[in-house]
């Protein structure tokens, strides 16, 4: 009798925990890569950030990226200083950018089945304290327990209050910058 109740409680407990895990469906990762790429006839400029934190809810499709702006690394130190300065991204006053989106076709993505899925993402991007809507597509790749999300889109710097009218930056930095987002999550 005791043994039966023990077995029963183990079954109940395991059912409860799996249900709970499914109900939350929240994946968290720090394995991320965000790239800014600007191209002009004068030069190409690239900055890479590997320190963002991201959460993806596989149930609701809601995803968030929190981006520490001072973690963007440039090949040239001077460009990095310009990027951080109050004339550009003002990273001392706005240390983090945020991408808050939702995969609107989440029902079409089967996280339990290996495959490459197209994700429609709509949400808000906040840089330098200014928020603009984004509507982009991305790719969700499921392989075993690993879920990879990638997306590439363009942002107009002027939308985020980043403007330069004279000098070298105005000729060497594109008005529209390509943003690539990459993140890898582990499913339980």
């Amino acid at each position: 009798m005791k043994r039966i109740s023990l077995i029963l409680s183990i079954i109940l407990l395991s059912v409860a925990t799996t249900t709970f895990a499914q109900a939350t469906g929240k994946l968290k990762t720090t394995k991320t890569h965000i790239k800014f790429f600007s191209t002009t006839p004068a030069e190409n400029i690239e900055a890479n950030n590997y320190a963002s934190v991201s959460v993806l809810n596989t149930e609701t499709g809601e995803g968030v990226f929190s981006v520490p702006m001072q973690s963007f690394e440039f090949e040239k130190a001077l460009m990095q200083k310009h990027f951080n300065s109050d004339k550009f991204l003002d990273t001392k006053a706005f240390p983090k950018a945020k991408l808050k989106g939702k995969i609107t076709n989440i029902s079409e993505i089967d996280f339990s089945k290996d495959g490459v899925y197209t994700a429609k993402v709509s949400g808000d991007l906040t840089i330098k304290g200014k928020t603009n809507p984004i509507n982009e597509t991305g790719t969700v790749t499921v392989k075993g327990n690993t879920v990879t999300v990638t997306s590439k889109f363009n942002i107009a710097l002027a939308d985020y209050g980043i403007t330069f009218v004279k000098g070298k930056p105005s000729s060497n930095i594109a008005k529209t910058v390509e943003v690539t987002v990459h993140s890898e999550y582990q499913q339980e």
Binding site: T30, K31, Y50, A51, V53, M69, Q70, L78, D90
Partner: protein
């Protein structure tokens, strides 16, 4: 006549020197190397617990104290317990130092090779601070302090 020649020669020398100096400064500025975090002087020595607590108490004041407007923010030596070891997308080691009862830790991204310490040991990492700890209401979780270009200090 002689004096006139001397003056014009002088002017030419000054102008040429000016052009060379300006060019050299411009060239140096453009190719200025990134600062060497390891050889730079440490600005603050503290525990992971103290740094996280300072940020959760008043993030604005902590940012004012630690972040620089050109991105070359304060150089920290943070001591704490190794809570998690991972690798980032660029293949660099990331070690999280976190106090047992703390809500957030300090994430240190290492440059190059590092003798990875064991989980649970106490180590000191030197690096530049990029961002502080905070509670993110969208993620519903605490975010760690971010240190970059780290090395272990013996």
């Amino acid at each position: 006549m002689k004096r006139k020649k001397l003056i014009s020669a002088g002017i030419i020398v000054v102008v040429v020197a000016g052009i060379i100096i300006t060019g050299a400064i411009g060239f140096y500025m453009f190719n200025m190397p990134h600062r060497n975090v390891q050889s730079a002087k440490t600005d603050y020595q503290l525990t992971a617990t103290a740094l996280v607590a300072e940020y959760l108490e008043n993030a604005g004041a902590a940012n004012e104290k630690y972040l620089a407007s050109d991105g070359d923010s304060k150089i920290m030596e943070v001591t704490g317990t190794v809570n998690k070891i991972s690798e980032n997308y660029a293949g660099k080691k990331v070690i999280i130092l976190k106090g047992e009862n703390d809500k957030a830790g300090v994430s240190c991204t290492f440059n190059g090779e590092v003798n990875v310490p064991s989980l649970g040991t106490t180590v000191t990492a030197k690096g530049e601070i990029n961002a502080g700890a905070s509670y993110d209401t969208d993620m519903e979780l605490y975010q760690d302090v971010v240190l970059n270009n780290c090395t272990l200090v013996n």
